[in-house]
Structures are given as C-alpha cells and as structure tokens.
C-alpha cells in the first residue's frame, strides 16, 4: 500500500518559519516599546549627560570620573579623600592652598599667629550661596560642632590645638569652654592649648570649614546629605547629586575670588572602581582624566601616545611590627634580620612597577620641608646595607633568645586589594627563601583589618600613613606611645620625649633636629621597615591645564584649571 501519511515536517517547517518571522517582528516592536518605557524610568535615576564630551571649550565644561562618591559632605565628619576633594571645590576655609601649594588667604583676609593664640580678620565679600555673608560666627559654630561628642567626628583630634578642645571632645568640659570666640562678624579670636608652630597648616583642613548655624539646624539632621542640604561658599556650587550616579558642580558666581575660576562646569557622571572601565571611558573621549593607572595599563597608554604625568600622593607605606612582649616580633634581632634582607627597591621596581613610587628609606617622606630646604636633604635617612649572612646570624641570635629550634612562623596582615595581595606573596617568598621564615598571609577586608590592628592581633602588617598636614609631626607622632594609631604599641622613652619637644617648640631648628633624631631611633630600633613612598601616574587630556595635585589638601584641584583650544 502506498504511503498516504502526508509529509508533515516540510510543510510544518515552512509555515512555522513564517510564524517565527511574525513572532520575531511582534517581539521586536514590543521590545522597542519596553525600551522606551524603561528609558523613561531610568532617566529618573541616571546621569543623562552621556552626550557631552570630556572637554567642552565653548561651555567651559569638564567631565570626570570618580571611584566612589562622597558618603556625605558634612565637613565636621568628612574623612575620605573624595569628600575632601569635593569640599575643597564647594567650600572654603580661613586659609586655602594655592596653585603652588602655598597657604594663601581664603575667607580670612589677613591673620596673626602668636604664641598663645591667633586672630583672623575675615574679608567683606565672602558670601554663602544664598547671598548672606560668611561670618566669624560660622567658623565658631562649625568648630564647636566638630568637637561636640554627639557629632562623633573622627577628625575632631585635628582641632585639639585649640584651648580645651580635647576636654570638650571627651565630655569633660562643656562646649562653651572652647578657646574660640567670634569678636564680631569679621574677627575671629583663637586661643591655643599650648604653643603651636604649625597652626596655619591645620586651619586649611576641611574640619575647620565654616558652617552656618541657622541652616544647619534647619536641615533636620540631614546636613550634608544632598544638594539642598548644603550651603556653598567656595569656587563652585553643587547643582546635581544623584547618589552613586551623578555629581555636578557649577561655577559659583557669588564667590569672592571668582576671577581665578575659569571652568564653568565640572560634571561627574561616572562612578566606578574599575580602572579598566575608566580607561575605556577616556579612550572613548568621555572623561578628561584617569587619575589612577595600574601598572598593567601603562603599555596601552604608551601605545596611545597619551601624556603621562606623575604625582607622589605623599603617603608612606611600611611594615609595622607588633611590640607586644608575648610576640616574637618584639625581639630586636628578629626585626633586624628581616630589615637586612628587605630591599625596597626590588619591591618598587619589580612588584609595584609604577613610576611615581619611591623606594622607602624612612618614615618621613622626601617632600617634607625642613629648615631651609627639604627635610631629607638636611637629615638624610640612615642607609641600610643588605646583608643576607648577617641577617641569618641575627636570626640565629633571635632564635636563641626566644628559645626556638626553628625559625618562627609569622602572620602578615594585609588588606584585600589586589596590590596588597601581590606584596604579601612577594614578602612571603622573600622571607621564606632568604631566612626560612614561614609567613602566613592574613588577608582581611578593611574593617576587619582595622579591628585586628587595634587589638594587636598580628605579627607584621603592611601599613600606610597619609599626611594630615604639611609638617613632619604628622608622621613623627605616629610612633609616639600614646598615639592610638600606633598599633604595634612601639614605646621608646627618648622617642616620646622627642615628639613632645617637636609638638611644643616653636624653634624650627630644634624641631627639625628632633625629627632627625626620631628618624635615627626608628632605624636603630627597627620600629618599622619602610617599603615605599606612594605615587602614581595618571593621564590627562592635553587641553586641560592648570590642574593642581597635592599631598596635603584637596586633590586634584580644578579651581585654577582652564581649557586651551590647541594644546
């Protein structure tokens, strides 16, 4: 019998194909509709300005990317570098740093520093963004607020040079005991707790910024949280702040020194920590600066023939030891052994591989000023000659003193960034092969690492310290025995005395000699092993000029930046 069952598949295929095509068209149209709907929805949360290019000379607009957004902009509580950078653009204190990183008048027209205190005379034309003048009372209020225990400001300590500040901050004295007084709208009187050589440097710090009392009280505890919760007295004012998505600064036409501000808009529509994404944005012409380049991206940058700039961010990175008597690292011979095999040059040149980093020689970085010139030129750091056999001898002595048969095993505490991981692996291999010491890597996220450091739960830790103000004291006092940031609890009487001397003396020679002595003690006692002074390379559009980089103060600073048509 013939086969009369129809061949289903062929005709099915044909017609089904037609059906599929119709389905496809319908789907595409529905899809387009969905896109329109979604785009409307996302416009409520998005940056929206994706069509602007990195630099728009006509409108004077600059487009940037930041790694994170400022958590909040309350100057009494700001601690991170991004907040400080933004505050440096939208607010201004008594003093500010100019294009050459010198302290120049800000809101204060002139000032006088005496042994027991200071007086600041404010200028007439300093105004807030709502038109009202900036008065001495605003400064007084801000400083009182920063010190109030309820504010829980982490930078309150920077106000401690003020009379009774520390007592107020710990709750021992009431707030009105503070040695700050607004004589009238234009004059601010300050009393010091003890004579201070570097008060000017401190005053430029954001915690010393003014805040208007009536506005602050008006915001219901939300001061600094959003665009409308801030008043601006700086070169720029913030006009848009969509958290995590978009930040926009526009030139403040009420700013007293508006002549020097040449940009009109600073637009920040991108927030990402991914350096590759940032580089891609730069390549695409969307942003004008990529501030942080990793060593792996250098080749790409060279190939593109972009201009590379270097910048030392002023911080010092070193290995810190735990001086608790129960720990093996409290033994001097052991530390000496480690010091004699550690080559900072190898770390910087082979592991970190970024220009801008200098091999570490001392706790005090090269950029610090001494008496007449650079501190490190006047007081050179003690040079350590690497010696593997002497190191092994020290290790043997250490083992004898500690009563060990084998080299000890040490826990190395690092944070969880990729760079820190590399360094940890490097040190593990180094000490393992040179000395036979087993290093166990303890990689912790930020908060947990801090916890461990403060509980002295480590043997060695990688640690970095950035300057709060431009004076060697910000580094020197790190190893004073009373400093809570001296996590290893290094304690040396002579060192403590030297720090106290540097704090209270006004004579530059005496102070610098003290710092020189501190540097020597740290090296002799092997209180730390300096690794490197951090720096970075970055790329910047050639049409953008006048960008200022700083180790201390708002960085990068665009308040003097301008655009040239042809570089």
């Amino acid at each position: 019998m013939p086969n009369t069952i129809p061949d289903v598949s062929n005709s099915l295929t044909r017609s089904a194909s037609f059906q599929l095509v119709w389905l496809g068209i319908a789907a595409t149209l529905g899809f387009a509709l969905l896109m329109v709907l979604l785009s409307w929805a996302s416009a409520l949360t998005g940056s929206g300005s994706s069509t602007l290019n990195a630099i728009d000379a006509e409108s004077g607009t600059l487009t940037l990317q930041l790694s994170t957004e400022p958590p909040q902009l309350d100057s009494t509580r700001a601690t991170d570098s991004v907040s400080i950078m933004i505050l440096g653009h939208v607010m201004e204190g008594l003093l500010r740093f100019d294009a050459n990183n010198q302290l120049v008048p800000g809101v204060a027209e002139r000032w006088e520093i005496r042994e027991d205190g200071a007086t600041f005379w404010l200028r007439e034309d300093a105004r807030w963004s709502d038109g009202l003048p900036v008065t001495a009372h605003d400064f007084s209020f801000a400083w009182h607020t920063a010190l109030a225990p309820e504010t829980a400001s982490e930078y309150a300590f920077i106000l401690y040079p003020l009379k009774n500040a520390e007592a107020i901050n710990t709750g021992t004295l009431p707030s009105d005991a503070l040695g700050v007084r607004a004589v009238n709208d234009r004059v601010l009187e300050v009393e010091f707790e003890q004579p201070l050589a570097y008060f000017e440097e401190l005053v430029a710090f954001p915690t010393y910024n003014p805040i208007r009392e009536d506005f602050y009280r008006n915001r219901d505890g939300r001061y600094g949280a959003d665009v409308e919760d801030l008043l601006y007295n700086g070169p720029f004012e913030m006009t848009v702040w969509v958290h995590g998505a978009h930040l926009r600064l526009e030139k403040n036409t009420d700013y007293w020194d508006r002549e020097r501000v040449r940009l009109n808009v600073i637009d920040i529509p991108y927030f990402t920590t991914d350096t590759t994404a940032a580089l891609n944005l730069y390549k695409d012409g969307q942003i004008a600066i990529v501030d942080y380049l990793g060593a792996e991206q250098l080749d790409e940058v060279l190939q593109q023939r972009w201009e590379l700039l270097r910048f030392g961010d002023g911080s010092v990175w070193f290995l810190a030891f735990n001086f608790d008597p129960g720990r093996v690292t409290s033994n001097w011979h052991l530390r000496k052994a480690l010091q004699l095999v550690t080559d900072p040059s190898e770390l910087v040149n082979r592991i970190i591989k970024l220009p801008g980093n200098l091999p570490g020689e001392s706790l005090f970085p090269v950029w610090l000023q001494g008496i007449d010139g650079f501190f490190r030129q006047e007081y050179p750091a003690p040079q350590i000659a690497l010696d593997a056999s002497a190191a092994r001898e020290h290790l043997r002595l250490a083992m004898e003193e500690l009563g060990l048969d084998e080299p000890p095993s040490l826990a190395l505490l690092v944070d969880d960034t990729p760079g820190a991981g590399r360094q940890a692996e490097y040190f593990q291999n180094l000490y393992g092969t040179q000395l036979g010491i087993d290093i166990r890597i303890d990689r912790q996220i930020f908060k947990q690492r801090l916890a461990k450091m403060q509980n002295q739960d480590f043997d060695i830790a990688t640690y970095g310290w950035g300057p709060d103000f431009a004076d060697p004291l910000t580094f020197g006092e790190l190893f004073a025995s009373w400093n809570p940031n001296n996590n290893g609890r290094f304690s040396n009487q002579e060192y403590d005395q030297s720090v106290r001397l540097a704090q209270s003396s006004l004579d530059p020679r005496i102070r610098m000699d003290a710092f020189g002595r501190q540097q020597e003690i740290l090296s002799e006692e092997v209180a730390l092993i300096p690794n490197y002074e951090r720096g970075r390379v970055y790329i910047k559009d050639r049409r953008l000029q006048g960008v200022v980089r700083r180790a201390v103060g708002p960085d990068p600073d665009f308040t003097n930046a301008y655009i040239v048509e042809t570089p």
Binding site: T276, R350, N429, F458
Partner: protein, 466 residues
Amino acid sequence: MTEFSLTAEDFERVSVERRVQTIVRPSLSYWQDAWVRLAANRRALASLYIVIALLLFTVAGPWVWTVDPTAQDLDQLSTPPGADRRAQIVEPYAPWNGVFATVTESLADTVGATAEIQLVQPASTQAVRLVWAPVLGASGYRVYRNVYDPAPDGAVGLPLAEIYDPRQVSYEDLLDLTPTRYWYSVIATDQSGREAEEYTTLAVDTIRVITAAEAQTRGLVDLETPLSLGDEVRVSFHPLGTDYLGRDMLARLMYGARVSLFIGIIAPFFFVLTGILYGSAAGFIGGRVDQVLMRFADFVVALPFLLFMILFKIAFGIGPGESGVVPMLVALVVLSWPATARLVRGQILQIREEAYIGASQLLGAKTHYLILRHMIPNTVGVVLVTLTFAVPTVIFVEAFLSFIGMGVAPPTPSWGSMCNEGIQTMLNHPHELILPAVLISLTVLAFNLLGDGLRDALDARMRSRE
C-alpha cells in the same frame, strides 16, 4: 486499485517455525544498557575522555611537572608561553652614586636642550645608567622612558624621575626592565617647573642578564661549571609562561586545578549526599513529617545564594595562612542541599506510586528490600545527573567569588583567582587570563556534555522506545 491474481501456490504453507522466540542479543542490565548508550553518544564519550584527562592533569600532573608553583622568578615576570631565552652573566648589583657636575649660571630666559645622553655601561635588565651633559640654566631634569619611538609627536612616555638638584646629571633606571628597546628622553626644567622645548632622546637595547649566584641557586648550571662574566646561560623554561610574580603558569594551573576541582567535586558530593538522605527520608516517611521537612528546605532555598555565600565567608573569617577553601565548601553545602533533597523526594514519591512497588509488596517484599532493590537504583540515575551538573555550577560560583575577591585567599591558586588576576593584564599579557579561562570553560563544558549524555543514557522513558 491494484489488481491481484491469486493462485493456489499462494496459499501453500511457507514453512513451519518451531522456535518463534529467539534471543537476538544478550540480556543487558539497566547499567549495562546505559553504558552502551553512553558509549554510542560521541559527544558524551568525548567529554568523558576530557574529564578523565582533567583529573589526570590535576592528580598526576604535579608528579610529572615538578616545578614549585610558589617559586617567584622576578627576572621573568609575565612572560608569554614557550620561547627559549638566554641570559648573560654579570656582576651582582652594586649601588651607583651617580654623576654630579658643577652648575654655571645662565642669563638666558628659557632653558636649552639636553645635548647628549650616554650610557655609562652596557644596558641590561639589571640597570640602565644614563649620564648627560649639564644644561645651562636648568633647575632640574626630568627623565622619561618609552617603549615606542617618541620622535613623531613627542610622546616621551613614562615620567621616571624628577630631579630637583641641577648638579645631578645622571639617572639609574631600575623600573621593571625587560629585554627590549627603550627610548630615554631627558628634559631640562626651569625654576617654575616648565620643561624645555627641545630635548634629546636615546634609544637603548637592554639584554637579559643574571648573576652567577642566581644561576647557581636556580639550578640553571651545574655547581662545578666555572662561570665567567659574559657567558650565556639558558634561563628556566616555562612552557606556558609565567604570571605577574614570575611563577610558572603550568604548575599554578595544576595546583589551581586541585583547588577548583576539589571544591567542584567534594562540595556537590556532600550536598547531594545530604540531599539524598534528607529527601528520601521525607519522601518515604511522608505525611506531616514530610511537610515539615520540606518547609524547612524551602526556606533554605529561598535564601539568596550569592549574597549568603559572601556573608558566610565574611562570617567565618579566614585566619592567617588559611586558604579559605573549607569555609567555601561549608557554605556551598549548606546552601545547596535543598535542591537535591527536593529532587530525590519527588523521585521517591513518584516511584512509590508505580505499579511494580505495589506488586512487589503484594508478593511479600519487606520495606528495606523495596528501598534497596527498587527505590535507590531508580533514583541513582537522577542523582548522578544532578551531581554531574552540579560540578560546573560550583566551579562557576568559585570562579565568580574569586573574581570579586571573596574566594580563596592568596597564595592558594585557583582558576577563578587566576582569572581575576589575569583580567587586569588582559591587554598586555593575555595568556594570564586565557589559560585559566579556557580550562574553566573546558571543564564546565565537559561536565555539561557528560551530564547530558548520562541523562540520555539513564533515561528509562527513552529506553522503552528502543
């Protein structure tokens, strides 16, 4: 309509068949049948071979390729695979004090060009030492280095150093030197930091060098062979290249395989085991107990997987020197067992209703006989397939967590963390990313295909269609 013409012969008997039933082929048990089917499926077979090869690579590999995965060779950072390289013997590094010149004042407005740059000694990967003639009126110098010729547009490259002392007319470059051609430019700066308009560039070819002590420590030469300066030795050979710390990629991949596959096989094993016990208990007992047990399983399923993996990892914390493998294993098992439990329970419930169970009971079978003879064998197929599919999922999870930094701790290698490191150097040294990524993909693929093949082979429904 077709015409037939029938004759008497058509109605004659054809033949007498005594035996109607014959055995056409040997009787196959369920497993034998499954294996035959699996073997016939070419893709599944190929993936089985791949899986076996991977296991061999992981387990037996380190015995064959005995290089230490933690040994760092800082002279061979991130080298690409293959290639035979030689190095010259040189003296060990000695610090250099540099060259200083006397400074004469200049009346000119702008700063002149650097006249000439010279090498103090032959350029090598140990150091490149430059010296130049002092420029009139300079307050300092800037040294740049590029791997491309700056000539056409003045792209001088990396800013190596900024010299503030006008007397210093030398510079020693130690930064990440590899055997290649570098272009060094030295530009004079004036008092305000502005650079001179003109400058000189020097092209330098560096050669790979090594000290005699290094060569001996690394076992590149016999201890008896006398080495003099200028001799050439072959540096250690790395068939798959090295990573960012100079560690051998092949060795790292093997040890990474151990970690990844260890997690990838042990974790599924445990959570499947837990799932079986839990699910069969629930399915078999039935009733309220079943309801309660399943409710609890549902709750665990509802926990957002990745979020809790991260939370678990943070909660456990990883102490110094620990690798973080155990917390990850525990977290995986705790979060994944309910899915298997559900599956097994479903199977048990289904089987319970089957006719042959009832028939078996009628024939007098005891409970444990039912479990052993009927229920377990019928669930094993499903379980095996789940297991095979679970492996790539877990490997992916581990890779993903390592990628966002929540995986195993250094220096323990795993394919995921190697990918994480490799992504950063993707453009310059693609092999650091490609090798682990390919291995991950291959493993995932092989297990997926194997799982497919197993499922097809073990599927009883399809069997009845043969």
